[in-house]
Amino acid sequence: MLKELNPLLHSELRLALMSILIGLEEADFSYLKEQTQATSGNLSVQIEKLSAAGYIAVNKSFRGKMPRTVCKITEEGKEAFAEYVETLKSYIKL
């Protein structure tokens, strides 16, 4: 019996966000938007979901007068991502 893939990560945009953040120390909203080509609204919703699950830490600040949202993967997020990849391997029998 194959283990179920983590439903929170098994969505295109959330998986893309986690894949970006796993390789970086941190990234801001504009960078994530550029890399994923997602709309601002959708991106905000997905960031919120990952943050609520404790997979990413979100820090909101200002640079000059412009608001800036910076995201960083947490230890819990790294573990969930590693587990997701392991489960994925069992599905495609790597």
Partner: protein, 200 residues
């Protein structure tokens, strides 16, 4: 990209594409910090050498302060313009390397400049090259950029020349070492950044 459910193959594709997109590439003008510090140091060293040989007045040593006076503001403007919105682990390690080596270099320079009042003599040019050479070598190793590693290592070896030469020509050695350690690797890094940008 949307909130779409994926099959296993699509999941793998998303992971691989996103990891590829964030892979460490050399950005355009990545060599700018080396060029700013390198050229300012070379020009200041030549200015000190010229003034000291011509006049013999020790106050011309104040020209060394041109290095931080010019380089710090230029680097602050550069950093503000260059921010990409993402910080890699490599960026973070390189920043920390230069905070440590830069601070120690600056502190030692101040002690050397004013240490004469408490009878303390330091071979400052030797120490500065050694510190900056170590910083450059480590930066090259972290970035996996050979010209930087070689430039830094050569600077460490050449630093000992500053202990052998006991006249103002030591400033010219100092300038030449900075050309090898920062100016040449900086230009190569910029060329590589341009090539990577064209390929992307």
């Amino acid at each position: 990209m949307e909130e779409k459910q994926l099959n296993e193959k699509e999941s793998l594709e998303v992971i691989s594409n996103m990891i590829k997109a964030t892979q460490n590439r050399f950005t355009q003008n990545a060599g700018a910090p080396f060029l700013v510090w390198g050229y300012t140091t070379v020009l200041s060293s030549i200015a000190v050498w010229f003034a000291m040989v011509r006049t013999g007045n020790y106050w011309w040593n104040m020209l060394w302060f041109l290095i931080p006076i010019i380089s710090f503001p230029v680097m602050m403007i550069y950093n503000r313009k260059q921010e990409s919105g993402a910080k890699t682990y490599v960026d973070s390690v390189i920043n920390k390397i230069w905070i440590v080596f830069g601070s120690v270099g600056f502190l030692v320079s101040l002690v050397a400049m004013f240490g004469g009042y408490i009878n303390m003599q330091l071979p400052i040019l030797f120490i500065v090259i050694l510190l900056m050479g170590m910083g450059t070598t480590l930066t090259g190793m972290v970035m996996k950029f050979l010209p930087c590693t070689i430039g830094g290592a050569l600077a460490i070896l050449l630093s000992f020349l500053c202990l052998i030469v006991h006249n103002w020509n030591v400033c010219l050695i100092f300038a030449a070492v900075f050309v090898v350690m920062m100016v040449i690797p900086g230009h190569i890094l910029n060329c590589k950044g341009k090539c990577d940008a064209k390929r992307a």
